[in-house]
């Protein structure tokens, strides 16, 4: 089952970490066939937020919300169950200074939901 591991942390603290630790973690996960995709992200200063309302496009500078801990990267993993996903997330180095949100992937292609008509 697929899970997305969203890596959060205060940018300064994450910035102080040694990239080689993250690369080593990534390499190990890939070697085990547990990692489908993974990337680090540029800081939130480079983020742009896009909204479409009633055909109108709004573009703003920055992340969608100002929070103390920011999204720093992600791992899309394959795990047997939540316990295994938790074990994997715990090994991601920024978990030591920030946190990792573990979210199951919804099988949208296999089980698409019909939406509700806007009221």
């Amino acid at each position: 089952m697929k899970y997305l591991c969203l890596v959060y942390g205060e940018e300064q603290k994450i910035g102080e970490m040694d990239d080689r630790k993250c690369l080593a973690c990534d390499a190990e996960l890939r070697a085990r066939g547990q990692c489908i995709a993974s990337e680090a992200l540029e800081p939130v200063a480079t983020a742009t937020t896009v909204r479409m309302r009633n055909g109108r496009l709004t573009v703003t500078d920055g992340p969608f919300a100002e929070t103390k801990e920011q999204l720093a990267g992600f791992y899309l993993i394959e795990a047997r169950d939540l316990n295994e996903a938790i074990q994997i997330a715990a090994k991601i180095p920024p978990a030591q200074v920030g946190c990792v949100e573990v979210r199951p992937i919804r099988p949208i292609r296999e089980q698409p939901r019909a939406g509700r008509a806007p009221g």
Partner: protein, 413 residues
């Protein structure tokens, strides 16, 4: 066999076996709701068949088999009308070896407890789910016990089961490497249930007896399957607290503090059992906070009169407890023990230090403690102020009345 007789025996089987049967059905069917339906179907089948065919030699295995059969049968009928779902067919198609129906049983109840107490579930959901699935309480009973509206409690359980399903929390006993942390989660749930029953957090009754007994039953079940030091420690702690049940409140429901309790009302059997469990836990040398708190309780319960309490021993135990659990509440309780050993002034200095640091300023017992120590030192104005503060912070009627009595006593002198 007379109708009423067989019904009584089936009722007895339900009382003793339904939880174990459910635990196994959850493993076999892979779903809580399906397992609950299967359990009902199994007992319905028992009511149909046993009066005429007689009680089976192994009721538990019979019920598991009947429940599983009916559930698979239902799935097959559903599959004819629904789109092919590989997951459904997987469950329906797997023919578990007959041994699985038998040998898995003690482990299944452990699987169930660990799953209901999984840290990925919200804390209040862990409690609700454990009481529902492991203890077999109804949603209404649990809602009433926690003074929560029934729909809120029901939703909590629904969401917890959905999380187990959607996030795929596995139905398993944690591996040895994770056992200690996962056990901590289970122990915390059981202790929260006990605490809720022992000192109801709000409302007119000081103790909700059902929950305390339920927690003790859970504790017994746990040590049967998992003889770990802290599990012994927790059960001991609960038994030792519970042993004082009859002495904690007057017939009119007034709170009676430890010093003033009629110790002849304490339950000796529970004290003996609790003390023995403390010894077992301490002997393993792998004990933790629950064991130490239980050891402290054992010292209290071992004193025939308050004056015979070995406060030195209690202080030593608190010193140890503070090292492994350095929390403000432990500091507070240690301060009380130190006051008893060395005099109120010593205890008061520690309590004031805690409050000055900004700790426990909203904790009613911190102010009640300060009040009591000031009272013993004859510092009446300060005692009055602290009792008043504690009064503002308590939601328990018997506590409120106790604090008001103390205030009245101060005014009277």
């Amino acid at each position: 066999m007379p109708e009423a007789d067989i019904h009584r025996r089936i009722e007895a089987v339900y009382q003793s076996e339904s939880r174990a049967v459910l635990a196994t059905l959850i493993r076999l069917l892979g779903d809580f709701d399906r397992a609950e339906e299967a359990l009902h179907d199994a007992f319905r089948a028992a009511l149909e068949k046993w009066p005429t065919h007689g009680m089976p030699e192994n009721p538990r295995a019979w019920l598991v088999s009947a429940g599983r059969f009916r559930s698979i049968d239902q799935l097959r009928r559903q599959a004819r009308f629904e789109a092919f779902d590989p997951l459904v067919h997987d469950t329906a198609g797997s023919e578990s070896a007959p041994e699985d129906l038998e040998t898995g049983l003690p482990d299944d109840r452990l699987r169930l407890i660990f799953t209901c107490c999984h840290p990925a579930l919200a804390a209040d959901a862990q409690i609700a789910l454990t009481l529902r699935e492991v203890c077999g309480l109804t949603t209404e009973q649990i809602a009433q016990a926690f003074l929560t509206p029934v729909p809120t409690l029901a939703q909590r359980i629904v969401r917890a089961k959905a999380k187990i399903r959607d996030a795929r929390i596995p139905y398993e006993v944690p591996a040895a490497a994770e056992l200690a942390t996962r056990l901590a989660s289970v122990l915390r749930v059981i202790y929260l249930v006990f605490n809720e029953g022992y000192t109801a957090s709000s409302g007119p009754d000081l103790m909700r007896l059902d929950l305390a007994s339920e927690a003790i039953r859970l504790g017994r079940l746990l040590i049967e399957m998992l003889p770990e030091a802290e599990a012994f420690g927790l059960l001991a702690l609960m038994l030792l607290h519970d042993s004082r049940r009859a002495a904690r409140a007057s017939p009119s429901g007034e709170l009676i503090v430890l010093e003033e309790q009629d110790r002849s009302l304490w339950n000796r059997a529970q004290i003996e059992e609790g003390s023995a469990l403390v010894q077992r836990a301490l002997a393993t040398r792998r004990f933790g906070p629950y064991t130490l708190q239980a050891a402290i309780g054992a010292v209290h319960c071992g004193a025939a009169h308050p004056a015979e309490t070995d406060w030195q021993e209690i202080v030593s135990l608190y010193d140890l407890l503070l090292r492994i659990e350095p929390t403000p509440i432990v500091e507070l309780n240690r301060a009380v023990a130190l006051a008893m050993r060395d005099g109120p002034a010593v205890g008061l200095a520690l309590v004031d230090d805690l409050l000055a640091r900004g700790e426990l300023t909203e904790y009613r017992l911190a102010h009640a403690t300060r009040a009591d120590l000031c009272r013993r030192l004859g510092r009446r104005a300060e005692a009055r102020a602290a009792y008043t503060r504690a009064l503002a912070l308590t939601q328990l009627e018997p506590e409120r009345q106790f604090l008001q009595r103390r205030l009245a006593e101060l005014a009277a002198n």
